[in-house]
């Protein structure tokens, strides 16, 4: 798990830097959430379970297949194929329209249950996103359906500049489970093993037909919201300094247990670096024919769309 966490942070920083170099668009670093994303991933079965991320989490899902990162890099450089994470990888692309992924996850879980498939669905959303009606409608329906879904609220303390105190007066985000009549758990999101156990547990309940679980993973956003954000305008320095860094937590733990050596970490980082380099090279050298602009609107283009494509290829005009 630690290796994946180290990788997650490195991948995230590299994507962040690509934006700084004008090679990628706006993106949101994972900083602070490495443990909970990786811990959750290890609590699932990548061959049976699905993950619907928000956007920060994709760098930590290496366990679900290398396509996740490769496509995430493509996504961030603005290549349309970045939204296509190929079969059989059971991870959805980033969701920008916040909380809309929760109904999708519930529907997917409902469908899996209807088809008698094993496995479950895990969906991530942020603390701020819990204020959207979609979160509530979906969790409420999941309860009624006994859907095999795990809803993970990544409580990193902030929604851009908005602190959780402005999002809700609920005691905590796990408390919201009372509105749905489903179990709610709060876990330390900087402790990968604790998250792993909570998710593994929720998963067994889900696949056993015991229904959904709401998990609040508490962490702290150690970086800016995105490449476009300046957190010094609103994040209290003291609060930030006091926040635990999951990488350090894990390193200390590994060291205590005698697993960790600097050499090992250096090697992991070197590998991750090389792996990321390959992903970036592959992404930036991936060809793109502008006419794909017209593909995948429907399975077959409508006559009007086909006509627009023809004009586009001939004289770049429409009308």
């Amino acid at each position: 798990m630690f290796a994946d966490m180290l990788g997650a942070r490195l991948f995230s920083q590299r994507v962040f830097n690509l934006q700084r170099q004008g090679r990628a668009g706006t993106n949101a670093p994972v900083d602070g959430s490495e443990a909970l994303v990786v811990g959750a991933a290890y609590g699932l079965d990548p061959t049976l379970d699905w993950v619907l991320p928000q956007y920060r989490e994709l760098v930590g899902l290496e366990r679900f297949g290398s396509d996740v990162l490769d496509r995430y890099v493509l996504y961030n450089i603005g290549h349309p194929d970045g939204g296509h994470i190929p079969e059989p990888t059971r991870v959805w692309p980033p969701q920008i329209s916040l909380a809309t992924q929760v109904p999708h996850a519930v529907g997917l879980a409902w469908g899996m249950k209807a088809k008698g498939e094993d496995g479950c669905v895990l969906v991530f959303l942020g603390d701020g996103s819990t204020s959207e009606g979609d979160f509530y409608e979906a969790c409420n329906f999941a309860g009624v359906l006994d859907a095999p879904v795990i809803v993970v609220v990544v409580n990193n303390g902030w929604a851009i500049s908005t602190p959780i105190s402005v999002q809700t007066r609920a005691k905590n985000f796990a408390e919201k489970s009372h509105a749905f009549g489903i179990p709610g758990v709060t876990v330390d999101g900087t402790d990968a093993l604790a998250v792993y156990e909570v998710i593994a547990d929720a998963r067994s309940r889900a696949v056993a037909g015991a229904g959904p679980t709401l998990v609040e993973a508490v962490t702290y956003r150690l970086g800016p919201h995105t490449t476009a954000d300046d957190p010094t305008r609103y994040v209290p320095a003291a609060e930030l300094d006091a926040a635990a860094d999951p990488i350090e937590v894990m390193r200390a733990e590994a060291e205590r247990r005698g697993f960790w050596t600097q050499a090992w970490e250096d090697e992991v980082l070197a590998e991750a670096d090389a792996r990321m380099e390959r992903a970036v090279v592959a992404a930036e050298s991936r060809p793109l024919d502008p006419t794909v602009l017209f593909d995948h609107v429907y399975d077959e283009p409508t006559p009007r769309l086909a006509a627009q494509r023809r004009r586009f290829t001939t004289d770049g005009q429409v009308g």
């Binding site: 469908g111 979609d134 409608e137 409420n140 329906f141 593909d295 009308g319």
Partner: protein
């Protein structure tokens, strides 16, 4: 060949499609035990069981949103939005997600969703039960928009919609649910999208309409025939895809055009028809295109409804205006 009203035709088609493909699921508010507030889904629960015919909580957003996930799981979701006005609560899922999932994922996920919803005025329903919103969806690429005007088409278009691997808004004219009655072919009957239907031939003026307005146009054509004005009525059937060829052919044949819609005038779909004629058949127009339309007001209360919705008289008058213009 049986004579059915539109509601019977839709109900029979849902039965047939669910029997044909066990991936088809029908869900929404009051669709199962109650068989739908108009009985469109009557009997489905008994025939196909509670796993495939499901009453949902009262939340349109999650009805549309779960359809996305069900589709990803390999199902063929046929959710019902009880009245089209309440699709507003699901707009972020329909316009923002359902319409775009295939494009966003380069077809990793298909979206064979058919959203059924009744709409349309003239029958004294409460607020937001009557609104014609097709134009508000027509500017959203990725959706197909289907509006049957006959019981036969209700069958043929609904079957096509359910089998279509793309998201379809299937809009049912509630004023016509029982009023519209015609012969419906037995057995397999598929009407392809993007093929307008010539309801009656005519050479002086073409009236272009969809949904219940087709019936009004037909009645207007009958009345105008008595005064020797030959009116062709074109039922678009689907707005997306649009049968541009049929529109062009009709405009070239008649030279004079009336478009009828129940929605408010400004930026209703009639505007797109006129723009399309401008693009494709400009030189065939012998007169400006006439619009018969709802007004730029919210849909009014019961006592004012009949003044808002287009009627045969207004269509007749518009056809006369078009016919009178000197070429």
């Amino acid at each position: 060949m049986a004579t059915l009203n539109m509601l019977e035709s839709i109900n029979a088609t849902l039965h047939a499609e669910m029997a044909r493909d066990d991936r088809v699921m029908v869900f929404g508010e009051d669709v199962a035990v109650n068989g739908g507030v108009f009985r469109a889904t009557e009997g489905l629960l008994d025939s196909f069981g509670a796993d495939r015919v499901v009453d949902t909580p009262l939340a349109e957003g999650v009805i549309a949103g779960t359809a996305v996930g069900l589709a990803a799981a390999g199902m063929v979701p046929v959710p019902e939005i009880q009245f089209l006005g309440f699709s507003y609560q699901a707009f972020h899922q329909i316009a923002g997600q359902i319409a775009r999932l295939r494009y966003r994922t380069r077809s990793r996920f298909e979206v064979p969703i058919t959203i059924r919803s009744p709409f349309g005025g003239g029958v004294r329903t409460p607020e937001l039960h009557s609104e014609s919103l097709e134009a508000q969806y027509a500017n959203i690429p990725g959706l197909k928009i289907v509006l049957p005007a006959s019981a036969a088409d209700a069958k043929g278009l609904l079957a096509t919609a359910i089998r279509d691997p793309n998201p379809v808004l299937f809009l049912e004219p509630l004023r016509g649910y029982r009023m519209i009655k015609d012969d419906v072919p037995d057995g397999e009957h598929l009407v392809p999208f993007g093929q307008a239907r010539t309801v009656c031939e005519g050479s002086d003026v073409v009236v272009i309409a969809w949904s219940f307005q087709v019936e009004l146009a037909r009645r207007a054509a009958v009345r105008l025939a008595e005064d020797g004005i030959s009116v062709r009525v074109l039922d678009l059937r689907t707005l997306v895809p649009l049968d541009v060829a049929a529109i062009v052919e009709a405009v070239e044949a008649c030279g004079r055009v009336v478009v009828v819609q129940e929605a408010p005038l400004t930026n209703g779909f009639a505007s797109e028809i006129i723009a399309t004629i401008n693009d494709e058949a400009f030189y065939s127009l012998a007169a400006p295109v006439e619009r018969v339309s709802g007004y730029d007001t919210p849909y009014p209360t019961g006592m004012l409804e009949d003044h808002f919705v287009p009627d045969v008289d207004r269509i007749v008058a518009a056809v006369r205006r078009a016919a009178e213009v000197e070429a």
